[in-house]
Symmetry: C2
Subunit: 210 residues, 2 copies
């Protein structure tokens, strides 16, 4: 098995990303952006816990820290999962198509691979939205010396949601199952709107302290 | 000397980021986000060069690829530089303050460290804005099979600009030199507005292909 993307050094990952291979691409970067947002949220939680000034919110912040860590782990898995799902699509396209039966098998494999590939960034979008929700509470209740870190966490979580949704949409454009497409389309539309609102609200909190 | 942040694996960097140490923080993440955006732009350039369909724009895309690479290198340096600049501020605060002379030396050292620390994310914001400009041209003229990657590049470049500006502003709030503060404030305000416009324009291009 190849080295996992997240085990690469940042320099190696950037080289791999910039190369002429289409994967890793925007989907993996979306998940990484969400993971960076979660880790920044954890940092602010860690800089809040144990401070007398924030004793009132300590228990809540401890819970948020635990949630951020959990979601960070999930997003880390999605960095590699996104690239694997893309590679599965490419593999399906390479199936033989020499007779009717092969053509039908290939057609179905491609459609299945596209559906699976769309669900991976959808998962990234949902998890990154969770990070954004936590970033807002961290900005509200966490250490104000780190308010810009809470703000950057919200920014990157919001970008991760939007970036992941771009990737869902591009896969949806190749999927024939209308029910699947309509269902996912309405879910990502809702997610994108909620993300925009939540980000603006968090931005307002951060602006108060700048 | 410690290991450079960018030589860490992604997993190590995320652990370091999430720890209870305030550096690396949002400033380094801003620079990393800009570097990820540049690398994604490079990928789309690499997937455009050599394709017959894009022969007309090949020379222009080759130039953009070269520019993206150069800016990526600069942003990579800013990941570590941001954390170092923050640590210099912390060091200045630890200078002795036992007599008038020491207090004055310390006061000046802190102000100098703050100014230097504000200029680092300002550099990150400017470089990331350059990436956004390139991402727009890549979305317009580059390989349309990678349109979402161009979109994610623009998203992350825009977030990098905004995240870096948060960090400039928090340092500016501690700087007494009014001329320095006013000058930087007006420059980042302009940059933020231009970034917002350019991102919307790029988003419109991407939306046409989704």
């Amino acid at each position: 098995m190849n080295k996992k993307l997240v085990e690469m050094s940042i320099l190696e990952f950037l080289d791999e990303l910039g190369s002429d291979s289409p994967a890793p691409g925007g989907g993996s970067v979306a998940a990484l952006s969400g993971a960076l947002a979660a880790a920044l949220g954890e940092m602010v939680c860690n800089l809040t816990i144990g401070k007398e000034k924030y004793a009132d919110v300590e228990d809540e912040i401890k819970n948020i820290l635990r949630d951020c860590k959990k979601i960070r782990e999930e997003l880390i898995k999605l960095v590699d999962k996104d690239t694997q799902a893309f590679n599965e699509v490419m593999k399906a396209f390479k199936l033989p198509k020499e007779n009717e039966e092969q053509i039908e098998i290939r057609r179905k494999a491609i459609q299945d691979a596209f559906k699976n590939a769309a669900l991976v960034p959808f998962e990234t979008a949902k998890k990154s939205f969770e990070v954004l929700k936590l970033a807002k509470i961290i900005a509200e209740k966490g250490n104000k010396n780190s308010i810009t870190d809470s703000g950057v966490s919200a920014l990157l979580a919001c970008s991760a949601v939007k970036a992941a949704i771009y990737n869902v949409r591009i896969y949806l454009s190749s999927i024939k199952d209308e029910h699947f497409v309509n269902d996912l389309n309405s879910q990502i539309k809702k997610l994108e709107e909620e993300c925009e609102t939540l980000y603006r609200e968090t931005e307002e909190i951060v602006e108060k302290y700048l």
